[in-house]
Symmetry: C2
Subunit: 465 residues, 2 copies
């Protein structure tokens, strides 16, 4: 798995922009760059330059000048990958990017595979495995909470907690294994009382980390919210109203895709993902038959349901009753799913009308998406469904399902150790369970690893990272 | 127009990628970066660092760490803009990009307008105006020819040619204006024979540059080609076959938009732009009535027309005659437009059939888009319509319509000077025409400029450049 060749990839997003960065890493990175680079000042070769310096010049292919560029040089081990790294900052045309990459390929580079730069950083000991995984999370983080967790994990918060427990457990494991060497003398090097305490503590921490996964998962992937309701009650307008603040920030930068934003918004730093409301918009049958398959499918996928109605409809008495029946249907089918009953276009009603509807449907929340009335209150209600306690307390939160899986397995083994200790299990059998627990700890940080596992993890990275 | 504030913008394409680069320029760039940056090694401030050095650390907002970044420092005048410049290379998530930019804005930066970095480079004398314009061309160049011309222009090839003529003309202007001061003494400081020679030479160069615009325009914008023909004759398959080589290169990098590539391909380094073939695909009437408005509209826009037919149809005798009539219709309407008659699916015919069709329509080109037969020959034919002589001779080529406009006006004035010299026009009147010519030369390189002009030019840049 250790690579000795030199890899190259575009590190910035593809497409045209002011500049693009092409990254080389490996033992020949500087030599290959030197073969294609001519300094503007005609100074010494890049190989003779200090690490962390920048040089203005041209990328040349024989007599042809491809671009005027800035070249950054990083000498091993002081680079992201721990190898020699060269970053070429060129003009951001697709054509130039391609030409420079093709040139480096001809000069002996190989196209990097997804995540290969970070894989090398891991293999060279610059990051542990959970930190490496956090890099991918960091890049895909799109709100404050997921960013904060990825940042914490990348800086080693999670690994160091795991590593500390692992070390303590390893100490005891060694002592117990030592006992086995002196089996005939019946000595106990490992204090069983202290060991029980440690196992209890590890079990407690593991359970906390495992519990945090539910929150972590929500934070990483966003909370799925279904907005259901008849056509033209204002679902899109509500989404736009919720989006308002976010979009203003985003619009500073041209080219940000709006479609994606319309589906995912951040409230109080937590991502809320709105499920395929376009699909719901098409169905005409919500009122007559809330039980239709499509709507229930949306509700199935959602963690929170916003049931939106048009206030004007409440002026018709018969509507209130059919609406109440629909609410009951949803509640009966999903007794545990938070349901927000929302009436849009509140500005079309007078005080008395509002009061009389509230007496019929007490939990109803009135708003006007168009005029921005009651929208902030809806945001607060959505946020109230998230347990942000752990986030506020700056606790370690598990967001990665691979880690979650290893933690579950480690807990399983630790519980076996606990019962073994209680039932006076012999040291040799105890040692096996401890080693198994240690194995699963090691999986998380990467002390225990194999090519398949690494292949799977880094395949999810983008090329260039 | 001179700015004293510090600007910030994302310099890399928007979207998620491995890394993103945020660029600051202005007198407070380093101080603002220092206020948000904490070195990992806890070394001295960025303001105390040397120019062209890179520093690993964290972007911090109070107690909150936004990202681990590399910061590059460029001290004025040794930077792109000629001002102090800081480039922050952060993890490429949209969220992180936004957070860092927002932080810099709060610390006193202003969001850069389109092309403002390059505008500052121009105002600080790092580039002349035609070089600055070449930066935008370079970024949007998507084939070898347009890239080569933009590169030449950015490196000053075009400006230096103009500047040299301008200087010589300026010398004569000064001499002639000097004569005016001694008007009563009737002296001639400016040698009229030499001056006539110079004016002839300038006129010759201007005409060559003006003529080059036709080629330049084709190279910059690509050659519009209409592929017309019945549905299912294989227009898309042909386009894919033409694309083949390009796409293999492009596919190394994930996320490159395919739609755009399908419409523009590069043959022998020249861009060929295929006009809305989807639209033609929809019309069912090509064979019955080639005269329909839509098809002629496509042909109107094209510089070359590929008229594609299905070889199988030629097995029907009546088709050959109707096809010949259609060819005549196009030729009559567009006698000067190159028309390529192409028959796809040649593999479905035998030698005799091919021979007999050729005897009816001698100029027909047979190919099989699916099997790749005859496709390279079609590329050669397309390429033969481009006058690449100037390109091969490495002559200066004008691609910018603003330059073209100024060159036309300059030529107009130079012709006036020429006639003035021939008809013995008095020095004071001659001087006026010379000054006008000089004015138009100056417009190109930016000696003569105004805010509106600069505003127009740089508004076409992307933000961050």
């Amino acid at each position: 798995m250790i690579h000795h060749d030199t890899i190259v990839a575009l590190a910035t997003p593809s497409g045209a922009g002011a500049i693009a960065v092409i990254r080389l890493s490996g033992k020949d990175a500087v030599a290959i760059a030197d073969a294609c680079f001519k300094s503007v000042k005609n100074l010494k070769k890049l190989s003779l330059q200090k690490t962390h310096t920048i040089h203005l010049g041209h990328i040349i292919d024989g007599n042809k000048t491809i671009d005027e560029v800035l070249v950054s040089v990083f000498k091993n081990p002081n680079s992201y990958t721990g190898e020699d790294v060269v970053e070429v900052s060129c003009h951001g045309s697709n054509y130039i990017q391609q030409e420079i990459i093709q040139l480096f390929l001809r000069k002996g580079c190989r196209m990097a595979t997804a995540g290969e730069f970070t894989l090398r950083a891991f293999l060279n000991g610059k990051l542990d495995l959970s930190q490496a995984e956090a890099v991918a999370d960091l890049i895909s983080s799109d709100n404050e909470a997921s960013h904060q967790i990825a940042m914490q994990q990348m800086r080693g918060g999670f690994s160091s907690e795991i590593a500390k427990l692992r070390e303590e457990l390893l100490n005891f494991a060694s002592l117990i294994e030592l006992e086995l060497d002196f089996a005939e003398e019946d000595v106990e090097f490992a204090d069983r009382t202290q060991f029980k305490e440690l196992v209890e503590r590890i079990s407690f921490v593991l359970k906390r980390l495992i519990d945090s996964f539910a929150v972590g998962n929500v934070i990483k992937n966003g909370i799925p919210v279904a907005i259901v309701g008849e056509p033209n009650v204002g679902k899109s307008t509500l989404l736009n109203a919720l989006l308002n603040e976010e979009r203003a920030i985003v619009s500073h930068i041209a080219g940000t895709t709006r479609d994606t934003i319309e589906d995912e918004i951040s409230i109080g730093g937590i991502g809320f993902r709105f499920i395929d409301t376009a699909g719901i918009r098409e169905t005409k049958d919500v009122v007559e038959s809330i039980g239709i398959k499509k709507t229930f499918e949306k509700i199935d996928q959602a963690q929170v349901v916003v049931f939106l109605a048009d206030s004007l409809n409440f002026k018709v008495d018969v509507f209130i009753n059919s609406f109440k029946i629909e609410i009951e249907k949803i509640k009966n089918k999903y007794p545990l799913k938070p349901l927000l009953i929302v009436a849009n276009k509140v500005d079309k009603l007078n005080e008395n009308q509002i009061k009389s509807i509230k007496s019929e449907i007490p939990q109803i929340h009135f708003l006007s998406a168009k005029k921005g009335i009651g929208v902030d209150e809806l945001k607060d209600k959505l946020l109230s469904f998230v347990n942000t306690g752990a986030l506020r307390n700056n606790d370690t939160i598990v967001t990665n399902s691979r880690h979650y899986d290893s933690l579950l397995k480690a807990l399983d083994e630790i519980e076996k150790v606990k019962h073994g200790l209680q039932s006076g299990l012999s040291g040799d059998l105890l040692a096996i369970d401890i080693r198994q627990a240690l194995y699963h700890f090691g999986e998380i940080t990467g002390e225990i690893t194999n090519d398949d596992l690494l292949g799977n993890i880094f395949a999810n990275f983008c090329i260039g990272k």
